[in-house]
C-alpha cells in the first residue's frame, strides 16, 4: 500500500517520457524529407508506361455547386496533415522514393471525361494525385503507389470537410474526417507490411491464366465509365436473403458476368474476379499508405455449367475460408520475400525492366475482372447532410475489359465500371442482373 504513490509517480514519469518520444518521432516523420515506397507501392512505378498507370479515383457528390477557389484553399490546409501525399516521385539507384514536394499543392482543375490517365512524375507539379471539380462533384485521382482506397477516402473526406468549413459550416472530426490540426502519427506514415509478415508459410499469388473479355479498344487514355446507383438497404436485403454479405454478392455478380460473357463466345477458360481486401481491420493498423492485398475467386467452366446461386456459394465459401489473419500474413510474407530477395541489390533500371516485362506477361492474365468494394464510408452527420453520394472508380485495365469500384454512403451504393472497350456488354450484364433481382438501378455514364 505504501508503495502505491511511488509507483504512480514512476508510471506518470514513464508516460511523460513516452509521449515526449512519440511527439519527437512524429514531428521527425512529419518533417521527413523523403519516404520509402511501401511494399505494395514499389511495384507500380515499374508498371508505368507512356499510355497506362495504375490510377484510381474517389469522388464526392455534393449538394451544392463546388467553388474551385475554396477547394484550392482547403487542399492547401489539408495537405500538411498528409505528409505522405505531399510528395513527388524520385529515382534512387536501387528503388524509387517519395521526396517532399516543394510546390505547396497541386492545381485544382476542371474535371475531364477521361480520368485516371497515365501519371508522369514531372507533371502536375510533381504530385501523384490530381484534384478535379465539376458542377457538384469533387474528384481526386490517386496514383496507387501513394495509397489505396481507404487512404484515398480519408484524404478526400478530410478535404471535403475542410472545404465545407471554409464555406462557413461547422464540421467536426471523426470517422473518415481526420483532425487537420493534429500531427500525423508514426503508424499512419510507416510502411505497415513488414509488421504483418513473419509467417513460416508463404502463399504466392495464383499463376493460372484466365478468360479476358474482348472488344474494340478505345484510343489510349480514354475510358468508358458507367455508374449504377442502387439503394443500399435493398441491396443488403437481397444479399441477406441469399445468406451472404454485400461484398460476396457483388463479387459474384461480377464473376458471373464474365462467365456469361465467355459462355456467349463459346470459350471454356477459367474465370476469376480479383477482390482487394483492406488489411487495416485485420491487423488493427491505421495507416495512410497502401495496406491491402487481393484475393482471386475463380470458377472453371470445364467442370460444367454454373447457375448464379452456385457461383455465389463458391465465392462465399472461398472468402470465408481465405479471409483470415493467418492466410493474409502468409500472403504478405510471400510479397515481402520477393522484395527482400536478391532483387533488392539490382539497379533500378533492371528492376523496372523486370517488373515491366513481368507485368506485360502475367500482370492481369490471372484475373478476368476486378471488383473493389470499399464498404460503407462514414462521415460526421454535420458533413453528411451536404453530401449526396460517393463514387470509387478503379482505373482502366490493360487487358481487363472492365474494372469495378464500389462504395456505400448513407443509403446508396454506387458501383462504377471502367471499361476500355467501346462495347457496353459487360455493364449491361452487370446491371441487368441486379435489375432482375428486383433492385432499382440508376445509370450515369460518360458514353454519348
Amino acid at each position: 500500500m505504501t508503495f502505491r504513490p511511488y509507483l504512480c509517480i514512476i508510471y506518470n514519469g514513464y508516460l511523460r517520457i513516452r509521449n515526449y518520444a512519440l511527439r519527437k518521432g512524429v514531428t521527425a516523420l512529419q518533417n521527413k524529407s523523403w519516404f520509402k515506397l511501401d511494399n505494395a507501392g514499389k511495384i507500380f512505378p515499374g508498371q508505368n508506361t507512356s499510355t497506362w498507370s495504375n490510377v484510381f479515383r474517389f469522388s464526392v457528390l455534393m449538394k451544392e455547386k463546388v467553388k474551385p477557389e475554396v477547394l484550392e484553399q482547403a487542399l492547401k490546409d489539408v495537405l500538411p496533415r498528409f505528409p505522405c501525399f505531399d510528395v513527388c516521385m524520385k529515382r534512387g539507384f536501387f528503388w524509387y522514393y517519395l521526396k517532399k514536394n516543394p510546390h505547396g499543392s497541386p492545381e485544382v482543375k476542371p474535371d475531364i471525361v477521361n480520368p485516371c490517365y497515365r501519371v508522369k512524375f514531372n507533371e502536375n507539379r510533381g504530385y501523384l494525385f490530381r484534384v478535379y471539380y465539376y458542377e457538384n462533384k469533387i474528384s481526386v485521382d490517386f496514383y496507387h503507389a501513394l495509397t489505396d482506397g481507404r487512404g484515398a477516402s480519408l484524404f478526400t473526406c478530410t478535404l471535403v470537410a475542410q472545404y465545407l468549413r471554409l464555406l462557413g459550416y461547422d464540421i467536426p472530426n471523426g470517422y473518415n474526417v481526420l483532425d487537420i490540426n493534429q500531427k500525423p502519427t508514426a503508424e499512419e506514415l510507416e510502411d505497415p507490411f513488414p509488421k504483418c509478415a513473419g509467417s513460416k508459410a508463404k502463399l504466392p499469388r495464383g499463376k493460372k491464366w484466365v478468360y479476358h473479355s474482348r472488344g474494340t479498344k478505345l484510343p489510349n487514355h480514354m475510358v468508358n465509365i458507367t455508374s449504377g446507383i442502387i439503394p443500399l438497404a435493398d441491396l443488403k436485403a437481397v444479399a441477406k436473403s441469399k445468406g451472404v454479405t454485400v461484398t460476396e454478392f457483388v463479387e459474384t455478380v461480377l464473376l458471373y458476368t464474365m462467365y456469361l460473357m465467355q459462355k456467349a463466345e463459346g470459350g471454356t477458360k477459367p474465370v476469376s474476379v480479383q477482390i482487394p481486401v483492406d488489411l487495416r481491420n485485420v491487423f488493427g493498423i491505421n495507416t495512410l499508405r497502401n495496406f491491402s492485398l487481393t484475393y482471386n475467386a475463380r470458377i472453371d467452366p470445364n467442370m460444367g455449367e454454373y447457375t448464379f446461386d452456385e457461383v455465389l456459394t463458391q465465392v462465399s465459401a472461398y472468402l470465408k475460408q481465405t479471409h483470415n489473419e493467418k492466410t493474409l500474413r502468409a500472403m504478405t510474407t510471400a510479397n515481402l520475400k520477393l522484395e527482400q530477395s536478391v532483387m533488392k541489390y539490382m539497379p533500378l533500371f533492371i528492376k523496372d525492366l523486370g517488373i515491366g516485362i513481368s507485368f506485360l506477361i502475367t500482370g492481369e492474365k490471372t484475373t478476368s475482372i476486378l471488383g473493389s468494394n470499399m464498404g460503407l464510408v462514414k462521415v460526421p452527420d454535420e458533413m453528411a447532410q451536404h453530401v449526396e453520394r460517393m463514387y470509387l472508380m478503379a482505373g482502366p485495365g490493360v487487358i481487363n475489359g472492365s474494372r469495378c469500384g464500389a462504395v456505400g454512403f448513407k443509403d446508396t451504393f454506387v458501383l462504377t465500371v471502367a471499361n476500355i472497350y467501346e462495347e457496353s456488354e459487360i455493364e449491361r450484364l452487370i446491371f441487368t442482373q441486379l435489375v432482375k433481382m428486383g433492385l432499382h438501378v440508376k445509370i450515369e455514364s460518360n458514353r454519348k
Binding site: 499463376k207 493460372k208 463459346g266 470459350g267 477458360k269
Partner: protein, 235 residues
Amino acid sequence: MSYCVNCGVELDNGTESCPLCRTPVVNPNIIKQQEITPSFPDRIYMPKSLNKRFGAFIASMVILLPNIVCTLVNILFYPDSIWGWLVNATSLLIWVVFVSPFLWKKTVSWALILIDSVCVMGYAAVICGLTGNKDAYFGCVLPLIAVVAVIVGFFIEFKEHAKPGWPVLCIAAFTEILVSSLSIELIVRNYLDINMLPAYSLIISACCATVTAFFIAVATNKKLRMWMDRKFFVE
C-alpha cells in the same frame, strides 16, 4: 425520370439512348428546352506523348558523328582503302531500318518494307561491288531480297487489313513459308545453272502443306477450334 424499356434501369433526364444497350429513350414528359446538366463533363485531356521524332533526331546525330570521323580518317590517312564506305553503308542500313520510321509523322507498312528492301538491296550492292561479285548480285541476291520483301509485305498487309483470326493467320504464315522455300530454291538453282526441279524445298513444302491443311480444318470446324482452345490454353 426516364427508364430503359430494354434493360429496366433508370437513366439521367435528357439521355437520348440507354448507355447499356443503345435503345432510344422516348419520354414525352421531359421538356426539351429544360437545361439538363450531364453527369460527366465534355472536356477531354489527352496527355502529351513521348516526342519520338526528337529521340530519332538525337539517334541520327549519334549515328552520323562516327561516320563523319571514319570518312575523314579514311580519306586523310588511308586514301587507297575504301573501308569507310563499309562503315557508311552499314550505318545507313541501321538508320533506315531502325531510326527513320520514328521520323515519319505517319507510317505505312508497305512503304516501310519498300524502303527497307531498297536499302538492303543497296547494301548488298556495296558488298558485292567491293568483293567483285556482280553476277551473284543480279543473278541471286537481288531476286532473293525482292521475293522475301514481297512475301513479308503481303503477310503484314493481310494481317493489318483483313484482321484474321489465329487459325487463318497460321494458314497464311505456313503458305508463305511454302512459297518462299520454293522460290528461294528455284532462284538459287537458276543462278547455279543446275536442274530446275525443286528438291529440299519439297520437304519443307510438304510439312507446311500438312500443317496448313490442319489449320484449314481448325478454321472451318468450330468444335475442333474449341477443343484446341481447351486443350492448348497456356497456364
